[in-house]
């Protein structure tokens, strides 16, 4: 068994600020490569023009240290914390929150969280109602003394187009795939396509949604996927793109860049399916602290 490791609060804080500093002004390297591939096969002149603008934006944002999207998002963190990992002073949640708050000030990111979800109930006397927080933190236990943080800045427009449906366990593959494809296609230009599609299959109601988010942020390598799921991902991606909604819903060959599935066992009466969408400004990073 690995020995207990105590991580100073400051070390985690600094690592998070640095990680946000890397992703607010550029999407993942995979995104850029997929956008380039989409541009290479595109024939529609408007779609080409838009894809070129996306790639140019990536370069410019990194150079000028400006956010790739003005919607600097809600912060989502999946933390895989070792059984032998100890955090010095305070909870992981409080450290993440403090780091996010300070990163927001440091990088000039937009406060996109409304304190009161039902605005009708906000306190009219309160001067500011907008914040960078709370962050969404999912904790999982792993063996050993590691701390792995998977961080995403996720925009609201794409998140709004996500769906979850409790299917009957006898639903056919076609019914399931049609639901997923329809989610992406009927979203049209709203989630800023070309998009990433994270799919959760199984679990229960909330776990299925978490699987879909995890599939977006921390997809399994293809080599670790069951061949049936890998084929299903390819089939869904092709069918979405054949519908021709295209870049920004304005036509073209690429509506989705990538489809990733994560699955887990579920109750015999259930078959939850969740579809979580992310825009082309796909800002994710995984770090070890």
């Amino acid at each position: 068994m690995e020995s207990v490791r105590t991580i100073p609060q400051k070390q985690i804080y600094k690592a998070i600020i640095e990680a946000i500093g890397q992703i607010y002004c550029q999407s993942t390297p995979e995104t850029k490569s997929l956008l380039n591939q989409a541009l290479a096969i595109e024939e529609d002149d408007v779609a080409k023009d838009m894809l070129q603008a996306m790639l140019l934006n990536e370069e410019l944002a990194a150079k000028e240290q400006l956010p790739i999207c003005q919607d600097t998002g809600i912060v989502i963190v999946f933390a895989d914390i070792g059984t032998e990992t100890k955090i010095e002073n305070g909870t992981l949640y409080s450290i993440v929150s403090e780091a996010v708050n300070d990163a927001w000030g440091k990088y000039y990111l937009r406060d996109s969280i409304a304190e009161e979800p039902l605005r009708y109930f906000s306190n009219p006397q309160k001067k500011s109602k907008y914040y960078s927080q709370p962050v969404i933190l999912h904790l999982s236990e792993i063996l050993g003394n590691k701390l792995e943080l998977h961080i995403s800045l996720k925009g609201g427009g794409a998140e709004n187009c996500s769906t979850l449906k409790m299917f009957n366990p006898t639903a056919t593959l076609t019914e399931i795939e049609d639901f997923i494809i329809d989610t992406v296609v009927s979203a049209g230009g709203k989630p800023c396509p070309p998009v990433f599609v994270g799919i959760g299959i199984g679990g229960d109601f909330e776990q299925c949604a978490i699987l879909a988010k995890r599939a977006l942020m921390i997809p399994l390598p293809d080599s670790e996927k069951k061949p049936e799921y890998l084929q299903m991902e390819k089939r869904i991606l092709n069918k979405i793109n054949q519908k021709g909604k295209g870049v920004q819903g304005f036509g073209g060959k690429t509506t989705a860049l990538k489809v990733n599935i994560l699955s887990q066992p579920c109750h015999i009466a259930s078959l939850p399916i969740a579809v979580n969408i992310d825009c082309h400004a796909h800002r994710c990073i995984s770090i070890s602290v």
Binding site: V46, A61, Q70, D111, Y130, Q248
Partner: protein, 167 residues
């Protein structure tokens, strides 16, 4: 793809030349407005109060910009999903609005109303906010500062790239 330069306010003669999917390089004055600003504008119209700006000669940009870093004219800037504004749009069109900029499709009703009022809906690419910021000449909070990113900002833009989506 045709590329057309437009100086706002849009002249009826020039509007007639536009076709869906034309690329537009937009110059002039834009007012940002998203969900909360739409609620307020609608409320003011219903109460017969004067609006903070003249709708007839203004272009509305569905946008909540990011803060302005030191030494920059504006922060990251770009469109939000227009469909969320659909329920407020017919009343604004009825009261003079003619130019809207955002992203994504509009409802069937709004699409029909845009044609009826001879208005135009442009889309610009979402998620290219550092690039769009280069076309902004000035950005200032115009009113309702307490709404933060949801306040109304007055922008002056030069060759701001967008596309004709609905006419």
């Amino acid at each position: 793809m045709r590329v057309i330069k437009i100086n706002l306010p849009l002249q009826p003669q020039q509007k007639k030349e536009l076709k869906v999917r034309d690329k537009i390089m937009l110059s002039g004055e834009l007012y940002t407005a998203r969900d909360q600003a739409h609620i307020r504008l609608t409320q003011m119209i219903k109460e017969g109060k004067p609006l903070p700006f003249d709708l007839l000669n203004s272009a509305l940009f569905y946008c909540g910009p990011a803060p302005i870093p030191p030494g920059k004219v504006c922060g990251a800037i770009g469109p939000t999903t227009s469909a969320r504004m659909d329920k407020y749009t017919p009343l604004l069109l009825e009261n003079g609005l003619r130019v809207m900029i955002g992203k994504g499709e509009r409802s069937k009703d709004v699409t029909e109303e845009i044609s009826k009022y001879d208005a135009v809906y442009f889309i610009c690419v979402g998620g290219i906010s550092a690039l769009l910021a280069q076309s902004v000449v000035s950005c200032e909070t115009f009113c309702w500062k307490e709404l933060d990113a949801e306040a109304i900002y007055r922008l002056v833009v030069k060759d701001f790239p967008c596309y004709v989506a609905i006419i």
